[in-house]
């Protein structure tokens, strides 16, 4: 886990270098010192061609996502063919012609990529999975294990970069990750991956920058001091102002000042209503 954190850095920490082929090959060599990495280099070159010009929402080249996912998969002890499939897992979203992957990388890798795209992650049977990090290098993963490893790595990297995703989608992805994917990773024996997924999704579901329920409710209660017909307007107006304030401190200060000025506002509005009635 420590090695993965070092070699597959979180892109939102801008100090870290972006994922690179060298970083990926270093992780592969750590787990498979004698492995032939030419296939992985080939996969990288192929992905670089077809994903050229595509960017992530973070603005990073799309290729960085392929490499980061592959580095996570490599760190799970997966053999080079699975790592190749990880590098190429989004190749179908590019103009790459059908059949090219089979032609260059063989049927096995092409089938694995297709299985990764088609798999419903919740439907993968967990009984046959042994995805713990200390797996012996000679043990070949089953198709299910390989699919799950790539899907989990994909989700982990997406969660690491979730800050760049629009709020509505971020919420949906984070909720699914916390409720379905993180428990699945734990059940598959990947406690570290599960913990990181859980932490990232929990953080995304409780952003610190939205108005808390307390301040919102407090402002709603303050409107009870106002004339009945005016309450909805001021509640909505203050709610919009609250949403424009950036920090909890400024929102609290705003709420307290509204609290102090509400009696005067109430008096102004009631006096105005009284005068209108008299005329």
């Amino acid at each position: 886990m420590r090695a993965r954190r070092r070699l597959a850095p979180r892109p939102n920490k801008r100090r870290c270098a972006l994922p690179s082929l060298e970083g990926l090959l270093a992780v592969v060599r750590m787990h498979h010192p004698h492995a032939d990495t030419s296939l992985i280099q080939h996969a990288h070159d192929e992905a670089a061609v077809w994903h050229a010009g595509q960017t992530r929402r973070s603005g990073d080249p799309f290729l960085t996502h392929c490499l980061a996912v592959a580095a996570i998969v490599a760190d799970l002890g997966m053999p080079p063919p699975v790592i190749c499939a990880a590098v190429l897992h989004d190749i179908d979203d590019t103009p790459c012609p059908a059949g090219r992957v089979t032609e260059h990388f063989g049927q096995e890798i092409a089938d694995l990529i297709a299985a990764v795209r088609a798999a419903r992650i919740g439907a993968i049977p967990l009984t046959a999975l042994h995805l713990h990090t200390a797996r012996p290098p000679t043990l070949q993963p089953t198709r299910e294990e390989a699919v799950l490893a790539i899907r989990l790595a994909d989700r982990l990297h997406n969660m690491r970069t979730i800050a760049f995703v629009a709020p509505a989608r971020r919420y949906l992805v984070a909720r699914e990750t916390r409720d379905v994917i993180a428990p699945l990773a734990r059940a598959a024996g990947l406690a570290d991956v599960s913990r990181e997924l859980h932490d990232l999704s929990s953080a995304a579901l409780q952003p610190a920058s939205t108005p808390s329920a307390v301040t919102t409710r407090m402002l709603a209660m303050l409107t009870l001091l106002l004339p009945t017909r005016q309450r909805a307007r001021w509640r909505e107006e203050w709610h919009a102002e609250l949403a424009a304030l950036p920090t909890r401190r400024t929102r609290t200060r705003f709420t307290l000042r509204v609290l102090l000025s509400t009696p005067r506002l109430s008096w102004t509005l009631r006096r105005a209503a009284f005068r209108e009635r008299r005329w």
């Binding site: 919009a240 000025s261 506002l265 102004t268 105005a272």
Partner: protein
Amino acid sequence: MGSLRMTLQTQLVLRALLEDPAKERYGLELCELAGLPSGTIYPILARLEHVGWVESTWEDPALHEGAGRPRRRFYRIAEDGAEHARDALARAYRGRKQPLPGWAARPINGGGVS
């Protein structure tokens, strides 16, 4: 068109609104322009609105829905409110012993700093 007591804060709010009379501004923006603490401006705005110097409307849905935030209440000086507001500010200014900060040129030698 009614009349109202020109407190210092009211004058600051009117000045902020008169800076660009055609522009619509929301409460927090006005607070900032007038140099008042956030959240204290609403009774003043309610009073100005009641006497007819200021008018307020809800934000155009196309704007706030596009930005993904709740709609804001926008304030603008009313068409015939600008004249009243300027008159009232001028009267208040003449009646003051000391000018409001920023309204008159400061003494050249920076008097008051000892």
